[in-house]
């Protein structure tokens, strides 16, 4: 049961990442009926903007000390803005001239932009994956503090035990989590010695060190941060779409493109704005998920998440923002459960089987409205 909950929580954080990308897919589709296959590359672009921001503005390095939350926040903002601007530029340069050429042409152009960005990325930054600068150390929560004296060699650990300590480095301070024993395993002598050595060193340097025990179900602060960002993005999108003039214009354009134009809505501006908003969310997602959470980025990192997010958007009902969020989260969870109880090799196959199934059984998705004839 506890394992099931852990799998589910891991699936939730993965699902949040899919949701962040799926939102942009769905919004753009809702407005101009274009499946923007370059959206996964916006995610990749965001990760790289975050990377360069941390490296150059904050002196971050793969092996460097913890940069902390403020630089991460700055990197996320920069990633979002830069990706938004890029998306507007792509829309202006590629999609707008093709808007009257039919949906197939636009779709092919989107595939072209996607491939162009992947290959341009490989040419400019190199094809190799690189490590994202370190911002903070993942720690598990909830946890309770344990007296080091109560930990005895040979005794079975009642719960996971680890020592969390701050360590001085050449360029600052970093937090380290060192596992002492996991639940049910005996506490070994080397682990115990290491713990005592760390406590002594920390005390001598005036750094903090504490031993914690963890319950069977935990989340890391990294996973928590992803949840928080998704919640904020959801709230912001809700306010934008439902309670602003721009949101009303978006809904009008989505409802009927031509009628909205006849009513005096600047349709081109609405389309550009939609691209911007969708790409901001994807860019933040890239820096957050590809960067902070998985800490390995490369020019092809957007490919698979982009496809999965597309499935999530279709699953939830393409064109619907709440549908994209729900689809993303459900897809992430079900993928992790398939990995856990079936085989990790089937998770991708499973995802695309869902796509086919949804298209066959309920093409409008979970929350999508079935298409109605317009009079």
């Amino acid at each position: 049961m506890t394992d099931f909950l852990n799998y589910l929580l891991n699936g939730l954080s993965l699902g949040c990442i899919y949701a962040l990308i799926a939102v942009g897919y769905s919004m753009v589709y809702g407005i101009i009926k274009l499946i923007n296959f370059a959206h996964g590359e916006f995610y990749m672009f965001g990760a790289f903007v975050g990377y360069y921001m941390l490296c150059f503005a904050f002196g971050g390095a793969a092996n460097g000390p913890d940069l902390g939350f403020l630089p991460l926040l700055a990197a996320l903002l920069a990633a979002g803005l830069a990706t938004g601007v890029l998306a507007v530029a792509v829309e202006r340069a590629v999609y707008r001239p093709l808007r009257s050429s039919g949906r197939i042409v636009a779709l092919l152009a989107a595939l072209g932009v996607s491939l162009l960005m992947q290959n341009a990325g490989q040419q400019t930054v190199g094809p190799k994956d690189r490590t994202f600068p370190h911002t903070f150390t993942f720690q598990r929560f909830p946890r309770t503090r344990v007296e080091p004296g109560s930990i005895v060699v040979g005794q079975r650990a009642p719960a996971d035990l680890s020592i969390v300590y701050a360590r001085r480095t050449a360029s600052g301070q970093e937090t380290i989590v060192e596992n002492i024993a996991s639940r049910g395993n005996p506490i070994t002598e080397p682990a115990h010695k290491e713990m005592e050595r760390i406590l002594e060193t920390a005390a001598a340097q005036g750094c903090e060190a504490a031993v914690f025990s963890y319950p069977a179900v935990t989340v890391t602060n990294g996973q928590g941060l992803i949840l928080v960002v998704l919640a904020l993005a959801t709230a912001a999108l809700y306010l934008l779409v439902q309670h602003t003039r721009f949101g009303r214009a978006m809904r009008a354009v989505s409802h009927d493109f031509e009628a909205a134009a006849l009513m005096g809505i600047n349709v081109s501006r609405v389309v550009a704005g939609t691209f911007f908003v969708g790409a901001v969310v994807a860019g933040v997602g890239g820096a957050l998920a590809g960067g902070m959470y998985y800490n390995e980025i490369g020019p092809l990192m957007g490919l698979m998440p982009g496809l999965k997010a597309f499935v999530a958007a279709v699953f939830g009902g393409i064109g619907s923002v709440p549908g994209a969020l729900l689809g993303g989260v459900l897809l992430g969870m079900s993928e992790k459960l398939v990995e856990a109880y079936c085989s990790s090799l089937y998770s991708d196959a499973f995802t695309f089987a869902i796509l086919i199934l949804v298209l066959l059984v309920r093409p409008s998705g979970l929350l999508g409205r079935p298409p109605s004839d317009k009079m």
Binding site: N6, A62, T131, V177, I180, S182, Y214, Y294, E296, A340
Partner: protein
């Protein structure tokens, strides 16, 4: 007229592929290198190239080297298909007499088919999948293979770490990883150990949280992880974050500085088997390390060392070959005897394999540390 003839002869000598006379009547042999110069394994290909360049200069400067080497480097983009093409280009267009490479087993297996068809010898310096040399007499190897590497670590797990149970984590579809998990399983169970489960992952995966949770639940004494550093770094990091504590055991696929950046301090306390240790006190090794550091301002890894040795082996074969033709060089390669290298002595067996020692290294926070040497 005579001038025309000699000019014609020079032209012919220049056009006839693979061999020619350099200044002073010194003969030259064209050797191809089919390497991962870009793509996912680019670090290994580039490291190999550095070692080869250094060795090439050294062997050409030796007075006893009657035939000088000239090496043409071709990129296989870390893909099997591109490796086949690189091999074809080296043979058909450049007219090389023999080829060294590649690093990844999948790439070498692809290239070995071309080697057999075109009858041009292929000597791999670093691919460890056992099936490679079974292709035929034109394919040889100068490093140990996975039927050695897997058992070395299985014995290390049983004898030195006193492990009774293990979980195998295999990169499905990767010949290298699959071969190593099979050979480890055999020795580990024969030595009385128990394999609790075999988990699989796909290349390119970033999220290993499920694997981490399952590992914790299975609670093995060690995890056998024969994979490439880019996934290994993420796996170890995410497993430690989930509170999983037992050591991971790996192979030469871990050997990349990026491993330490990806995993951070979480990487310490794991063990790998490798071809080479830059900390080896052997004077020949230390001289190589010194020369390498002077030239490239970085410490050589196993790939540089193996590339370096491969050029020495090739230089020996070319020197002894009866004529400068692929077939004669093949015969010379298959009878290499006692060529001293920085990763041990190279003597080709009848199966075109060498017998060499392996070193077991322990991962510290930022680099590998020597642990023990294992003899075959």
């Amino acid at each position: 007229m005579r001038r025309f003839i000699s000019a014609g002869l020079v032209l012919i000598a220049w056009v006839i592929p693979g061999c020619g006379s350099g200044p002073g009547g010194v003969k030259e042999a064209l050797i191809g290198a089919n390497l991962e110069l870009s793509g996912e394994s680019a670090t290994w290909g580039q490291d190999t190239k550095r070692g080869m360049e250094l060795a090439c200069e050294e062997v050409n400067a030796r007075p006893e080297q009657k035939v000088k080497l000239r090496i043409i480097y071709e990129d296989n983009k870390s893909e099997p298909g591109a490796s086949k093409n690189a091999m074809k280009k080296l043979i058909a267009q450049d007219g090389v007499l023999a080829v060294i490479g590649s690093v990844g087993s999948n790439r070498t297996i692809a290239a070995s088919d071309v080697a057999m068809e075109e009858k041009v010898p292929l000597m791999t310096h670093a691919s460890t999948n056992v099936t490679i040399t079974r292709k035929g007499e034109y394919v040889s190897r100068i490093c140990f293979h996975d039927d050695f590497q897997g058992p070395v670590m299985a014995k290390f797990a049983r004898d030195s770490l006193k492990a009774n149970t293990a979980v195998i984590l295999v990169s499905r579809g990767n010949a290298y990883s699959e071969g190593l998990s099979a050979s480890f399983r055999k020795t580990f169970t024969a030595a009385g150990g128990r394999i609790l489960d075999e988990l699989a992952y796909q290349a390119g995966t970033k999220d290993f949280k499920t694997h981490a949770t399952t590992l914790k639940q299975l609670n093995p004494d060690i995890v056998w992880l024969p994979g490439y550093f880019n996934e290994v770094g993420l796996i170890v990091k995410q497993a430690r974050e989930a509170g999983f504590q037992a050591p991971f055991l790996g192979t030469d696929g871990w050997d990349d500085p990026e491993l330490f950046r990806l995993a951070g301090p979480a990487i310490k306390g794991n063990f790998v088997c490798n071809h080479f240790d830059a900390g080896d006190p052997d004077p020949a090794v230390q001289e190589f390390v010194k020369k390498f550091e002077e030239r490239y301002k970085s410490r050589p890894g196993a790939m540089s060392a193996l590339g370096y040795d491969a050029v020495y082996a090739m230089a020996d074969a070319v020197n002894r070959a009866k004529e400068l033709k692929p077939e004669a060089i093949k015969d010379a390669i298959n009878t290499i005897k006692g060529v001293k290298g920085v990763c041990g002595t190279i003597t080709m067996g009848p199966d075109r394999e060498v017998v060499k020692n392996a070193v077991v290294l322990e991962t510290g926070e930022t680099a590998f540390k020597y642990r023990e040497t294992v003899k075959p």
